[in-house]
C-alpha cells in the first residue's frame, strides 16, 4: 500500500508543481495533462540539480525538493496578475466513449500492476538503473560509463528512471506493481488529452465518443499485448498526441504551454524524444511565425523548457562518454531492402490488430490543410526512425523487429486522432 501512496503523492505533487510553474511562465491556468508533463520534467531537473549540488537523493531529500519547489511555485503563481483560463472546463459530461476509455484504462492498469504485461526493458534497463540509482543516491555515472553496462542505454535521458527511483526512495522499497502503475497514470493522461482534443476539434458527439473509444481500445490492446507497461514508449506517444490539438486548432496562446510541456517531456523521456521535441518546436514555431505570433518572448517560453533538459543531458553524456557508437552514422543504402522488409513485418504484428498501417496514410493527410502540421510532425519523426535504421551499424532485421513495432506506438495514436478530426468534419457538425 505504501508504494502506491508514494506513487500517488509524487504524481499529484508533480502535477501541482507543473501547474504553478506553467501558470507563472505562460500567464495561463494550464490544463491537467500539460501540468503533469511539465511537473515531471521539473522534478527530473530538480533531482539532477540536487545531485550536481552534492545533495544525495534520499526519502527526505526527494520530499523536501518536491515540497519546497511546489511551495515556491504556488507562492509565485499567486502573484501572477489575472491568470487566464486556458481550458475553461475539463470535466464536461461523461459520455459512453468515456466509459469505454475507462474500461481500457482499467484493463491496462490491471495488466500492469498484476505483472501480467511488463515491458522486458523494465527488467533489462529501466528497473536496473532505478535500483542502482536508489542505492547510489543519484545517477550512478560511474556505473553507466562502464563499457560492459552498455545494455542499460546509459545515454538515455533519465526522467522515467528518476520517477522509479524517487518512488522507490519515498516508498522505502523497490515495488514493481507500484512502479508499473506509472504507466497507468501516463495512459490516463493520454486518454484525457485525447478526450480534450476530440471535444475541441470535433463537433459530432458520436464521432467524439466513438473516436475516443477506438483510440483507447486500440492503444490499450497493443500496450497490453506487446508488453508496454514499464517502458518509456507510452510517454513519447503522450507527448506527440498532446501536440495534435495545438497544431490543428486556430493559433492561440493557450496552446503554447501544451507544446512547450510536450516537447520538454518527450526530450526527457527517451532518446527518440529529443528529435521529436525539435520537430514539435519547429513545426509549431512555423505555425506561430505564419500567424505572426512568434515574438522573442513566445519563442523563449516555448524552447526553454526543452533546452533546460537537453543541455545538461548532452553535457553529462559527453563528460562521461556515454553516447553509444551504434547511435549514428551515414545511411547505408544497401540496408533499404532488409529494413523495409522488417518494417512491413513490424506493421503486421498481430498485437496492433491492423491499426499500425494507419501510419502509412500520413502522407495523404498532407493534402488536408487543416491537419497538415501534425501529419508533417509524424512524417518527420517516422523519417528519423528510417534514418536510424539505415545508418546504425547493427543487423537491420534484428534492430527493426526489436524496436519498430513499439516505436509505432509513438505515431499511431497521433495519426488516428488526426483521422478522427477529419471524420468529425465529414460528419458535418463544426466543433462547438
Amino acid at each position: 500500500m505504501i508504494p502506491f501512496l508514494a506513487l500517488a503523492l509524487l504524481a499529484v505533487a508533480g502535477e501541482r508543481l507543473g501547474r504553478h510553474v506553467l501558470a507563472l511562465v505562460f500567464r495561463q491556468r494550464p490544463p491537467v495533462v500539460p501540468s503533469l508533463m511539465a511537473g515531471l520534467v521539473l522534478f527530473h531537473l530538480l533531482l539532477l540539480g540536487a545531485q550536481l549540488a552534492g545533495l544525495p537523493w534520499t526519502r527526505t531529500s526527494v520530499l523536501l525538493i518536491l515540497g519546497l519547489a511546489w511551495l515556491a511555485a504556488a507562492v509565485g503563481a499567486r502573484w501572477v496578475p489575472a491568470a487566464e483560463e486556458a481550458c475553461p472546463s475539463e470535466t464536461h459530461g461523461v459520455g459512453w466513449g468515456d466509459v469505454v476509455a475507462g474500461v481500457a484504462l482499467a484493463g491496462l492498469t490491471a495488466a500492469a500492476v498484476t505483472l501480467s504485461s511488463v515491458n522486458p526493458d523494465f527488467v533489462y534497463h529501466w528497473g536496473i538503473k532505478a535500483k542502482r540509482f536508489a542505492l547510489a543516491g543519484g545517477i550512478d555515472f560511474a556505473y553507466l560509463a562502464h563499457p560492459w553496462n552498455h545494455y542499460t542505454h546509459p545515454d538515455y535521458p533519465h526522467l522515467l528512471t528518476e520517477i522509479y527511483t524517487a518512488t522507490t526512495l519515498v516508498a522505502g522499497r523497490f515495488d514493481e506493481p507500484a512502479l508499473l502503475a506509472w504507466s497507468a497514470i501516463v495512459f490516463a493522461a493520454f486518454l484525457w488529452i485525447a478526450r480534450q482534443g476530440l471535444r475541441s476539434l470535433v463537433g459530432s458527439p458520436f464521432v467524439r465518443q466513438a473516436g475516443l473509444a477506438v483510440l483507447a481500445l486500440g492503444v490499450a490492446a497493443f500496450a497490453i499485448g506487446y508488453l508496454q507497461p514499464g517502458g518509456a514508449d507510452l510517454l513519447i506517444a503522450l507527448a506527440l498526441l498532446a501536440a495534435v490539438r495545438p497544431l490543428v486548432a486556430p493559433s492561440a496562446p493557450e496552446h503554447d504551454l501544451t507544446v512547450a510541456a510536450s516537447a520538454a517531456f518527450a526530450a526527457a523521456s527517451k532518446i527518440e524524444g529529443v528529435p521529436l521535441a525539435a520537430i514539435l518546436l519547429a513545426v509549431y514555431g512555423g505555425k506561430l511565425w505564419r500567424d505572426r505570433r512568434l515574438t522573442p518572448g513566445t519563442a523563449a517560453r516555448l524552447v526553454l523548457p526543452t533546452l533546460l533538459g537537453v543541455a545538461p543531458w548532452l553535457w553529462l553524456n559527453l563528460r562521461y562518454d556515454l553516447f553509444q557508437p551504434t547511435n549514428a552514422g551515414l545511411p547505408d543504402w544497401s540496408r533499404v531492402a532488409p529494413v523495409a522488409r522488417a518494417m512491413v513485418e513490424s506493421f503486421a504484428k498481430p498485437e496492433w490488430h491492423g491499426l499500425s498501417w494507419l501510419v502509412l496514410t500520413a502522407p495523404l493527410l498532407l493534402a488536408f490543410r487543416a491537419v497538415r502540421l501534425p501529419a508533417l510532425a509524424v512524417l518527420l519523426q517516422g523519417g528519423f526512425y528510417a534514418y536510424v535504421y539505415l545508418s546504425a551499424p547493427l543487423d537491420p532485421n534484428i534492430l527493426v523487429l526489436a524496436s519498430f513495432p513499439r516505436l509505432l506506438l509513438h505515431l499511431v495514436p497521433a495519426v488516428l486522432l488526426v483521422w478522427l478530426v477529419l471524420l468529425g468534419r465529414a460528419a458535418g457538425r463544426p466543433p462547438g
Binding site: 469505454v100 481500457a104 484493463g107 490491471a110 495488466a111 498484476t114 505483472l115 501480467s116 504485461s117 511488463v118 522486458p120 523494465f122 527488467v123 533489462y124 528497473g127 536496473i128 535500483k131 542502482r132 542505492l135 556505473y143 562502464h146 560492459w148 545494455y151 514493481e176 459530432s204 458520436f206 464521432v207 466513438a210 473516436g211 473509444a213 477506438v214 481500445l217 486500440g218 490499450a220 490492446a221 497493443f222 497490453i224 499485448g225 508488453l227 498485437e351 490488430h353 491492423g354 491499426l355 471524420l423 468529425g424 465529414a426 460528419a427 458535418g428
Partner: protein, 171 residues
Amino acid sequence: MISAGDRARQLGRTAPHLLLLAALLWTGWGFFEETADAFGPAPPAAAGALPSDWRLSSPQAAALAPFLERVDRELPPGSTVAVAPAAMPDLGQDFFLYLWYVYHLPRHDVLRASQPWTWERADYVATYRLSLADDQAWGQLLGRPREEVLPLDPEPVVGHPLGAVYRVRRP
C-alpha cells in the same frame, strides 16, 4: 422526393459513423483478445524456457529471484560477480540470463563470465544450472580450465538448487 445530391450528402455524413462503428467493433475485439491473453492461463513451462522469454511473472524468473536476492544480501556490497550459466541451447540466451542476474543484484557489479575483462575484476562466480563437474562447459565458458579461476574443490558461499556462488581464486 430526395434528390441524388441530397442522398450523396446524407451518405457522406453517415459513412464516418459506419466506419467508426466498424472500427469500434474491431478494436473492441482486439482489446478483448489481448486482455484475455494477458490474464489467461500461463503458457506451458517449456514455452518460457529461454531467458529471453522470461517475464517478471514467469515461473523461471520467480524461482530465480529468491536465490539472487539472498546472494545480493549475503555478498559484501560492491562485490564484482561473474555470471556463469550452463550451456544455453540458443546463441545469446546467456546474455538475457545475465540481465536477470544484474536486475536482482543491484548492490554489486555483475559481469559475464565469458567476457575477457571479467577475470581481472571478479570476486565471485554465480552459476546457473552449471555443475562443478562439467569441465567441458566450464572450459567453453571461460576459455581456460576452471582451476585457473576457482579452487579445485570450492566451498559455495551461497548454495541453491538453481546455482551457487563461489569465491574466485586469486593468484
